[in-house]
Amino acid sequence: MLLLECPCCGVTAEETEFHGGGEAHLKRFGPGSADEEFESYLFHRENPRGVHFERWRHVNGCGKWFHAARCTQTLEVFGTYPAQTTRPPEDLLAKIRDKRPGWSWRDFA
């Protein structure tokens, strides 16, 4: 069971109040992109054992989307942050470096 804090309305709730929205920080490749880019955008996803970044929606609450950083192995939630960003906030990355030395996830480490 995950306990997530929605950064939009400030509620901390268990995961049944939310809905997972898949991997975070995907860059869309649409018309005009190379086949490899489009394929990667559609199908290639991270499946880590450890640090992971996801989109979540507070579907039974305020209805807003946000981001969450968590550990898939221990279900520890490192933090949540607003949806309107292309990368996690620096203080959250520092916190993860502290807790999981040597971790990496796509371009983040």
Partner: protein
């Protein structure tokens, strides 16, 4: 004019707590910039209350003004006042980004009343929310999950809570609440 029927026809049941459908209320969903002075001024003039803070509800005679999300409010008033309120919102906020939609007959409003601890326990059986008196008190509102459907719950006073849900799930919510409130279901948590 056609007769309006509330989703549950005014149903009520007495168990450990009383569960009842409230008489028909006028309701307007509002979206906009809650920090904007014109928006706030119009809304509070209609509600007769202050602006609600985050996850708060302002109670008024015959209505309320509830914070529903960072850009959404729910305005509850007597049904006969809704048309005039929509006119006022449209004229005051013309040219300004906002949305106002009447949801009077799209929602069901219920009330739970009785011994405070029993009411909190009834709600706590169905919602993943901490209903301890120190965590949820008068003037607090929370949108959450009631069993398997979305709902909002607010505290008017100790032993007096409101619940709002979509009309389409009103019977489900009523059945879930009355079951949770049935005699013999005491857990003694609160």
């Amino acid at each position: 004019m056609s007769d309006h029927r509330t989703p549950l026809g005014g149903a009520s049941r007495d168990g450990r707590v009383r569960v009842e459908e409230m008489p028909r209320r006028g309701m307007i969903t509002l979206r906009g910039d809650l920090s904007d002075a014109t928006f706030a001024g119009t809304v509070t003039a209609l509600s007769g209350t202050g602006m609600p803070g985050q996850r708060k509800v302002e109670l008024a005679d015959g209505g309320l003004l509830a914070w529903m999300s960072p850009d959404e409010l729910l305005l509850v008033m007597p049904p006969e006042d809704v048309a005039g309120a929509l006119d006022r919102i449209a004229s005051d906020l013309s040219g300004q980004h906002h949305l106002a939609a009447e949801v009077t007959d799209a929602r069901a409003v219920l009330r739970l009343s009785g011994e405070d601890a029993a009411v909190r326990e009834t709600l706590g059986k169905l919602m993943p929310v901490d209903f301890a008196p120190g965590a949820f008190g008068p003037g607090d509102i929370r949108r959450t999950r009631l069993a398997q459907v979305p709902a909002a719950v607010w505290c008017v006073a100790p032993g007096d809570f409101g619940v709002i849900c979509f009309r389409s799930v009103a019977e489900y919510v009523y059945a879930a609440l009355t079951n949770a409130a049935a005699e013999g279901g005491a857990v003694g948590h609160y």
